[in-house]
């Protein structure tokens, strides 16, 4: 298909609309997405000024021992505060500030709306219970409840009302539907407890200890004289640390930002000097703090979005300038994405593929890894830009999910489950998630094909398969239209997915065989990986039998992506199984 023909055809009309529609649809979440990390209203200006004046940069790089890991205080505070307030920040304060503020001045949070109720249905029930208990007369009740309905944040005072406790008790008894959400509220209230916050703040390495020794909290260091782990400290060292901590605490209570800053600056090196051999390097802690301050770089989705528009224009109009711009933007996005991945690898000290956040963001990155050589391969054919487009769309969706669903896809870094400590985690998981990304990319080109057909495009297809078409010089014999190009790209990616998915499943079976004692257990995740493969097996054979091969290929590629997403979303979040940790 030539440039002129595309402009005069239905595809040309589509070409005018698609970038606008896509740009509009894709940028909508950007503006809506400001809600992530949104501040709760009602903060007093004096408080804000203290929060602004406190500089926790040094303290943020202090190491905290938590759940078998040593992480930066910034990273740790983020983990804990997420368990209290879900995705929300309190008064737009950093999690580190809120953590310390909650621990040191808990009275300020007694009647603050800081506890996150995840289940929307439960929010309405709590409001009705409060109303029935006469709380509707409480000052500001209506506004607070409106905000609660919206944000899910409520105060402990409300939750401790007898009528709410009765309600939660009833909901706790329903183990099928609501018990786990009540337990999340319990956990949030528990983490908010100043005693718990102080206890979890294990920032003191064991004196001359080993990696197997427990770290101490400041609370222990200050109070427990009978604790042998504390008495092991030389008195002057212990005194220096506790005095500095107490000064910081006193300054915090007095809202003396300068005092807090001075004490926290002094505290960090004192803690590092306790047992330097056990303390993570300063740069590692610094990078970890920065990683979370930069929101795990999930905002890179914007760059992928920006690359999509010129790539689409280049595909439809065959405009080289737009193509070059698209490639440049995609290159920038992919480079940033790579930095994010390597950054996480460095701070987590492992390849990021052990939880949902890592699986999604790494899978999206694999899209770029596959798309770049493919793009180079097809650079002189009609298929050019389409692999990049598919990869950009897949990465954008993946990173958007990570960015806007911080609870479901939590970026917190934890330890791997024991069963995941195996070389097959790298082999099986990476091949599978790469195949999933490839399937998603195939669905993008298939969707373009379907849109093309919906706007009256010709029923075209490549005659010799995907890789065959590329080897033959592009879309079939090189004289096809957009439909043939899209079909060719779909087939290239489908063939890649077909092989990788099957190989990935087999690799998983090998791992399962020596890990669980069975290569195949009919676990829902296994079955739906097989189901995805079945869809592609159907695609291959339906393509043989039908006349409108392009249409059926596109339809089944989209269905295959749907089954893959069911496997990744529904099976993971709704149906538990052996792969629930993945």
């Amino acid at each position: 298909m030539t440039h002129r023909r595309s402009l005069s055809s239905s595809t040309g009309r589509l070409a005018l609309l698609v970038p606008l529609i896509v740009a509009h649809l894709l940028t909508a979440p950007l503006w809506a997405g400001v809600s992530d990390g949104s501040a709760t209203p009602g903060a007093a200006s004096a408080e804000l000024s203290f929060a602004d004046a406190v500089d926790l940069t040094d303290l943020g790089r202090v190491a905290v021992h938590y759940e078998g890991r040593v992480k930066s205080f910034d990273s740790f505070a983020r983990t804990i505060m997420q368990r209290v307030s879900g995705p929300h920040r309190i008064d737009d304060q950093s999690p580190a500030f809120t953590y310390l503020d909650m621990a040191i001045t808990p009275q300020a949070y007694v009647d603050r709306d800081v506890i996150f109720v995840k289940m929307k249905l439960m929010r309405g029930q709590i409001i009705r219970a409060l109303e029935s208990g006469g709380m509707v007369r409480a000052p500001d009740f209506s506004r607070r409840m409106d905000e609660f309905l919206e944000t899910g944040l409520i105060s402990e005072e409300f939750l401790l009302r007898p009528e709410v406790l009765d309600l939660l008790e009833g909901l706790r008894a329903d183990l099928l539907r609501s018990a786990r959400f009540v337990e999340m509220i319990d956990a949030a209230a528990g983490y908010k407890n100043p005693g718990v916050l102080h206890d979890h703040l294990r920032i003191v390495p064991p004196w001359e200890g080993s990696a197997e020794d427990r770290w101490l909290s400041m609370q222990e260091l200050v109070a427990a004289h009978g604790n042998p782990a504390v008495t092991a400290f030389p008195a002057d060292r212990r005194q220096a640390i506790t005095d500095t901590w107490e000064r910081m605490r006193a300054a915090w209570v007095d809202r003396d930002a300068e005092g807090v800053n001075t004490a926290s600056r002094e505290l960090a090196p004192l803690l590092r000097a306790v047992t330097p051999a056990l303390y993570p390097s300063e740069s590692r802690l610094d990078w970890e703090s920065r990683y979370f301050r930069y929101h795990s770089m999930t905002w890179v989705w914007i760059f992928y979005l920006l690359s999509i528009v010129p790539l689409l224009v280049a595909i439809v109009y065959r405009w080289k300038g737009a193509g070059r711009l698209g490639i440049a933007l995609f290159g920038l996005a992919f480079a940033l994405h790579t930095v994010a991945l390597l950054w996480r690898t460095y701070v987590a000290d492992r390849w990021p593929n052990s939880n949902m956040f890592e699986a999604v963001t790494t899978a999206a990155w694999f899209g770029g890894v596959m798309a770049l050589p493919l793009e180079y391969w097809v650079r002189k054919t009609g298929m050019r830009y389409l692999f990049l487009l598919g990869s950009a769309a897949a990465s954008m969706v993946g990173l958007m999910a990570a960015h806007f669903l911080p609870i479901a896809l939590t970026a917190n870094i934890g330890n791997k489950m024991p069963v995941l400590h195996d070389v097959w985690l790298f082999i099986h998981t990476n091949v599978i998630i790469a195949s999933y990304c490839s399937i998603f990319m195939a669905a993008i080109s298939a969707t373009l094909y379907l849109i093309h057909r919906a706007f009256g495009g010709r029923a075209e297809y490549v005659r010799v398969g995907g890789a065959g078409a590329v080897m033959a010089g592009g879309s079939g014999r090189g004289n096809g239209g957009l439909g043939q190009v899209c079909d060719g790209v779909t087939m290239v990616l489908m063939e890649l997915s077909f092989v990788m998915l099957w190989a990935g499943i087999v690799m998983g079976a090998i791992w399962a065989d020596h890990s669980w004692g069975r290569p195949w257990g009919w676990d829902p995740k296994e079955v739906f990986a097989l189901n995805t493969f079945l869809i592609f097996a159907l695609l291959v054979h339906v393509r043989i039998r039908t006349h409108d091969k392009g249409l059926w290929t596109a339809l089944l590629a989209v269905v295959g992506a749907g089954v893959m997403l069911v496997n990744w979303i529904v099976i993971n979040f709704k149906i538990s199984g052996l792969h629930s940790y993945a």
């Binding site: 183990l175 010799v464 033959a472 004692g517 159907l538 043989i544």
Partner: protein
């Protein structure tokens, strides 16, 4: 697959003959597509089930529910069973035949088609390997306890008990009874003796009560020479002293021999979640070994009852009786030749005792429902003659029986409590009525007991308070007593057995404190703040509790259907006068307003009897991870008077000492007409292991900071196991996560571990864990064949998608070169033609 040119599907001559239609059918690609589609639908439904929205807001996960089709009544299948059901087997069989016939008839065996041949043959090889694999597959688990304590008491046969904290046993020796309890196990005990100082050993401490002495014996794995006793020495600090230091010898009783030995496991219990492997275990009371009877046809997911009278239930459940004959298969079966039949199954139930009408003797029982103004209600079951069950809510709600109208009237009148002090040596008997005024204006001075050298000071008194939930209520008065020698405090209870003297609390300001506003907390008093001292016999004390009507009392009698509510009311403006007492006749089901609440007698029986049945727990209150742990079956034994509910046990424990602290041991009992008593448990089928397995050691590798008690701190678990080898044991072999061990064709996996746990009940010992492991045990025939098929298929895919186009491209170029006058070599055009075919 792709090797056939999609643009020109092979035209296939139709087969003829009597089976021609069948050959044509199985040659059809369309038929293959239909079969693959059916397989997709079957797999999806069987695995994920059906998801459906429960609200119009489908954007929230909260509004989606799932039905697992294979678990529905009528299917009752595990995932393994669903995927081995005949429709699935048929589908796979048809797909294999279709693949074979279509490949043979449609795809010529040429270079360009090697890929599709490999894919199809790889899948068929995989299917054949799977038939072998799944046809011979078994999978189960074996709990292996680390050590047992072997006990040799003089004059008795040696016995043993698993070395798990809390376990206890009693042995009758020639000199009397010996009691043993494992009080503490330290998996990492640091040795402090000589050359072995600093080494770590598994330490087991056993509390021993001989007919004459009590001591603790410490046993160390690998160091029997360090076995020693620790004795309590009054006045010593710390009070427990090594026997070697106190007695000059390491053992208190050298005739008593305790040793640690392996506790070998002989069986593997088949996993119920793979396929149903129910089994009933029976044995005669007094014997230790179980006899197993496999149970076929028992449901797994759905309750099956034949009558609502079999259970307690508060939700809808269709009657769905089962009748399963459970035949004996082992010669050791104590009931060989006797019919045993299962007539009911409950997936999740707990045994409950309730009172129902139909008793022979008078035993009034009622259920009272209280509802608050917000509509929240709660039911209370009360029994008038049950000291622990006649009241609820700390005595605020009571059920009483009266045999006359006068007795009922008496219940409306308060009676003052009475304290009686008696000095036997002086024959002084002093009755002290405890009046409300004494409570409002407590005395600060001791009052002499005339005619004696003693004096008393009444501190406070309390009636009917609950010390332990479910136990009878207690009433007491606290009195300070002064003798010429000392001063002490005495609690005088309405049940004199609970009287006790305690040191006087010198810190307490008893010169003006207000007991009315700051009553002592009885829970705190019992043993927390003051020390008990020997009872002073010179003064006897009695307390008769007073009587005050409870806020709400249901009074039954004197007629057996006669009910009255006696309630306290505080009319507006009469706060100074105190509450008034109201008596109202009430009928069953009638709502009565009392003290701001609505009370309803929902059931009443003057002659109630206690019946124990399983309570069927509603679905929403079932722990999802509990699996079959709360299951039970109703078993009838030929000749026995009645059927019994037999609870599920995760393993066929011989006694409660084997319950691994995480399960329970509660066999059901049946008395046979011939007088024999039979124990029964429901569990899973077990297979004897070809060789016993023992746990030598157990390790955890941890993340930084060591083991915190949480799984998140653990990097790996490793069981060091030994296998029985002739008369001895094999070398110790590690089995850890991702590193199974193959022993004589069986694979052993690290499956579960023993985490630390607190005391399970009062008097129990906490556990530091690591006392046992659970090994997964399985076989894996045919895995190599399956893998071979998979690899061939992968290679075929690569060939079909990437090698074949290269071959075709090369041939095309050669043909084009030939057409252009070049010399591509003989046959290039022919190859191309063949390729097109």
């Amino acid at each position: 697959m792709t090797p056939v040119d999609p643009a020109s599907p092979l035209k296939l001559p139709r087969a003829s003959g009597p089976f021609g239609w069948l050959v044509n059918l199985f040659s059809s690609i369309t038929f293959g597509i239909v079969l693959l589609s059916l397989l997709f639908v079957y797999s999806s439904i069987g695995s994920a089930g059906i998801l459906y929205p429960t609200s119009f807001d489908i954007t929230s996960w909260d509004n989606w529910a799932q039905i697992s089709v294979r678990q529905l009544r009528g299917f009752e299948m595990t995932e393994f069973e669903w995927f081995h059901w005949w429709p699935f087997d048929l589908l796979i069989g048809l797909i294999c035949v279709n693949l074979s016939v279509a490949t043979l008839r449609r795809i010529p065996f040429r270079v360009v088609n090697y890929g599709v041949w490999m894919i199809h043959s790889g899948i068929i090889i995989l299917a054949l390997g799977s038939v072998w694999y799944f046809g011979t597959k078994f999978e189960g688990d074996s709990p292996v306890i680390r050590r047992q304590v072997r006990i040799e008491v003089p004059g008795a046969e040696a016995v043993s008990m698993p070395a798990v904290p809390g376990n206890r046993t009693v042995v009758q020796g020639s000199t009397g009874r010996y009691g043993f309890q494992v009080t503490n196990i330290d998996p990492k005990w640091s040795l402090r003796s000589g050359a072995d100082e600093g080494k770590v050993a598994y330490s087991v401490q056993v509390s021993v009560q001989t007919p004459t002495e009590h001591f603790v014996r410490q046993l160390l794995v690998g160091y029997p020479e360090y076995t020693e006793d620790v004795v309590r020495v009054p006045g010593a600090m710390p009070p427990m002293v090594r026997a070697i230091k106190h007695l000059g010898r390491p053992l208190v009783d050298e005739e008593l021999k305790l040793a640690l030995e392996y506790e070998p496991q002989q069986y593997v219990y088949l996993a119920n979640w793979i396929s149903k492997n129910w089994a009933l275990y029976l044995r005669e009371r007094g014997t230790s070994e179980w006899s197993m009877r496999p149970v076929d046809g028992l449901p797994l997911f759905n309750d099956s009852i034949g009558s609502y009278d079999d259970v307690w239930i508060d939700h809808d459940l269709p009657l769905d009786p089962v009748s399963i004959d459970v035949s004996s298969v082992e010669q050791s079966d104590p009931l060989a030749g006797t019919d045993v039949r299962i007539t009911g199954y409950l997936r999740y139930a707990t045994m409950q005792r309730r009172r129902i009408p139909g008793g022979e003797r008078l035993n009034p029982a009622a259920t009272i429902r209280l509802r608050d103004p917000n509509g929240r209600s709660q039911d209370f079951e009360l029994a008038a003659f049950d000291p622990a069950g006649f009241s609820a809510e700390g005595g605020s709600l009571q059920l009483r029986w009266v045999d006359s109208v006068a007795a009922r009237t008496k219940l409306t009148r308060p009676v003052e409590p009475l304290l009686t002090l008696r000095v036997p040596e002086s024959e002084v008997d002093l009755e002290i009525p405890l009046t409300p005024r004494m409570r409002l204006e407590p005395s600060t001075e001791f009052t002499p007991i005339e005619g004696t050298p003693y004096a008393y000071l009444v501190e406070y008194w309390m009636d009917d308070f609950e010390v332990t939930p479910g136990m009878p209520l207690i009433s007491l008065a606290s009195v300070r007593l002064r003798t010429p020698e000392r001063e002490f405090q005495r609690w005088v209870c309405d049940d004199p057995r609970f009287n006790r003297d305690m040191e006087a609390n010198e810190d307490e300001d008893h010169s003006g404190h207000d007991h009315e506003q700051n009553p002592h907390d009885p829970h705190e008093m019992v043993g927390e703040r003051q020390r008990t001292v020997p009872t002073f016999e010179g003064i006897e004390a009695l307390y008769r509790k007073g009587f005050a009507p409870a806020p709400l009392t249901l009074v039954a009698g004197p007629g057996e259907d006669e009910l009255h509510f006696i309630s306290l009311a505080m009319p507006a403006g009469s706060e100074d006068l105190g509450p008034t007492v109201e008596t109202r006749h009430v009928k069953i089901g009638e709502e009565v307003a009392v003290s701001g609440l609505t009370a309803t007698v929902t059931s009443f029986a003057a002659r109630a009897r206690i019946e124990e049945r399983p309570f069927v727990v509603p679905l929403e209150r079932r722990y999802r991870d509990a699996r079959e742990q709360n299951s039970m079956v109703k078993v009838g034994v030929q000749g026995a008077a009645q059927s019994v509910w037999v609870p599920y046990h995760h393993y066929a424990f011989r006694d409660a000492n084997e319950d691994l602290r995480r399960h329970f041991y509660r066999p059901a009992t049946v008395r046979l007409p011939d007088g024999r008593v039979l124990d029964m448990i429901l569990s899973r089928e077990r297979l004897p292991l070809p060789m016993a397995v023992a746990l030598d050691d157990f390790d955890v590798d941890t993340h930084i900071g060591g083991f915190s008690g949480r799984v998140s701190s653990i990097l790996n678990w490793t069981s060091h196991v030994r296998f029985a080898d002739g008369d001895g044991w094999s070398e110790s072999t590690p089995v850890s996560v991702n590193e199974p061990h193959n022993h004589e064709g069986l694979w052993f996996f690290q499956a579960q571990w023993d985490p630390p746990s607190g005391a399970r009940f009062e008097g129990d010992a906490p556990s530091a864990g690591f006392n046992y492991t659970v090994l997964g045990v399985t076989n894996r025939h045919g895995v190599g064949v399956q893998l071979l098929g998979c690899c061939i298929a992968v290679l075929g895919m690569i060939y079909a998608f990437y090698v074949k186009p290269l071959i075709r491209l090369r041939r095309r170029k050669a043909a084009e070169l030939q057409l252009a006058g070049g010399s591509p070599g003989p046959g290039a055009l022919g190859d191309l033609a063949g390729d097109q075919a």
